[in-house]
Symmetry: C2
């Protein structure tokens, strides 16, 4: 196995080498390159290549499907940014802000088809299960986004529903990445399913940590302004859990949600979260889902040293600062 | 071979039987059913099933991929209506008008993935060429839509560029339908390519006829108000050809394009088209591309009676009133 940073560097290099240039259709393909080359952790392709490598396939053989998974992820970002009217992404204008909504819609559509093409760059003998995994998990992602949008119009969301939403919106794609990588590596059906569970649970841990960092992250390393979720009254793990806890603090939180966006609101809500012990509760749930992810790995036939590689990946993600 | 109306009835029945209902995700799937069940000619699935049947596959075996092609077409309509801000489609509110833009975007994305799943419901031995055909032609459709949007901001469009645009936006998908059907039927690679050419040329003839009907169609049978393209100054075959012809009539047309939308503008532009002989010129080009479509059929190994079925399809499309 390689180091985690080596897989992500391989993915990054392949993304930099993507050649979609077209003079006639520059308005279609330039936004795709812009979206893909914005950087990021390259978590999904890293998981896919690690899984392929762990089960005996070379990471090189997995690099095109890995880019396909990353392109799918970036397609959802293009469309999500239109739907959420988010004008920045990773510190730069989002595609719809730099071009326009129509460009983000159409170039996003194009990315979904290009992603499917990349995912399909596998041996004929495994094309069917890989394509089915990809398509079925893509549907889960749309269902998760639909729930997320529906939650915006609800005053309270049950914690179970929130967890279900992030399983769909974030977990399914990490699960697909791990399972597709395993299949490319030659894993058995059983092992591939365990790898899906690993990715699914890792995705939940990852998203809860992401919600935590948006409020309690270090502004110097987080990469975007702290408190964006608070200002948008977003139904995050912190808010859903705090409201579900009830009591006077939850009531105070409801009042604070009606404050206008700004530093005072962020400070007020953060203070309430702290009083309620949300940082520790959040960390506890991240740890619990990480354990489930690790437990899935332990159920595979992988040797100890390979399991260790995935344990390190989990650790890296839940102790990250961005 | 069955009658043309029997293939389209089979497609219609299968679409009516589509079951995507989901209480949790009703906001995601209900707009898809609404979009799919709006009726229409079902031209694309008809071509796909006819081609499968002609080459010896049963139309039943082709019905799921046929619905996949129709679902892809309907996905593009959901997104095109958002991009064009078109509030009606086949006499009913379009999806984004009945729900909202975000719903049309997300349910459209879902349709693209569902379409890919349906297209993939073929024997493993032909999955690869069918998937590649579908994905490659999908990219052409996006490129065509991109050109169409870019044309809106141009004062003049060369006739060749217009033909290239409709080859991409309309022809590619009809070509894909014919080729995929042929592959399902067991056609040779060579025959499948000829069928693609047939669909491509039929698509060009179909679109030129569509442009003609939008101005010169019978309002009682056309199904939407006559003159919509004129009021939107849309770069149709009629307008592109008229402007390319030049002379005082073309100059008069440029003046008329600056008129406010309304019946007077429609009447004025229609009169100029008539003076320039555009109806006959339009019919001549429809006939020319229909001949090319038929010529492609004649290059296949199909027997005379099967060729005759496709000749009838061409005839039916270019003499239609809606």
């Amino acid at each position: 196995m390689l180091r985690i940073s080596e897989y992500s560097a391989m993915a990054e290099a392949a993304i930099r080498a993507l050649n979609l240039s077209s003079e006639t259709f520059d308005n279609l393909y330039a936004p795709i390159i812009y979206g893909m080359q914005a950087g990021g952790k390259r978590l999904r392709p890293t998981i896919l290549m690690m899984a392929a490598d762990a089960f005996g396939g070379s990471p090189e053989k997995a690099v095109n499907p890995a880019i396909g998974i990353e392109m799918f992820h970036n397609f959802t970002l293009l469309h999500d940014d239109v739907m959420d009217k988010s004008d920045t992404r990773r510190g730069r204008p989002s595609v719809h802000a730099k071009w326009d909504d129509n460009t983000a819609i159409l170039s996003g559509d194009t990315m979904l088809t290009l992603a499917t093409k990349k995912i399909s760059e596998v041996d004929d003998s495994i094309l069917r299960p890989i394509l089915d995994t990809f398509n079925d998990q893509a549907l889960r992602v749309y269902e998760g986004q639909r729930l997320d949008m529906d939650f915006e119009n609800m005053t309270e969301v049950a914690l179970d529903d929130y967890i279900e939403m992030i399983k769909l919106k974030t977990g399914a794609l990490l699960g697909a990445a791990a399972k597709i990588g395993a299949l490319i590596g030659g894993a058995s059906k059983e092992d591939a399913e365990k790898m899906y569970d690993f990715g699914l649970m890792l995705g939940v841990a990852f998203q809860i940590e992401d919600d935590y960092l948006d409020t309690f992250g270090n502004p110097d390393t987080f990469g975007k302004p702290i408190g964006g979720d608070i200002n948008n009254n977003k139904k995050t793990f912190l808010m859903v859990k705090a409201l579900a806890t009830g009591g006077p603090n939850a009531e105070a939180l409801k009042v604070a949600m009606k404050m206008p966006a700004g530093p005072t609101k962020v400070k007020t809500v953060t203070r309430i979260y702290e009083t309620m012990g949300m940082p520790a509760l959040s960390k506890a749930d991240v740890a619990a889902y990480s354990s489930k992810a690790l437990a899935a790995i332990k159920k595979t036939s992988l040797s100890d040293d390979r399991r260790e590689a995935f344990r390190k990946l989990i650790d890296k993600l839940i102790t990250r600062t961005k």
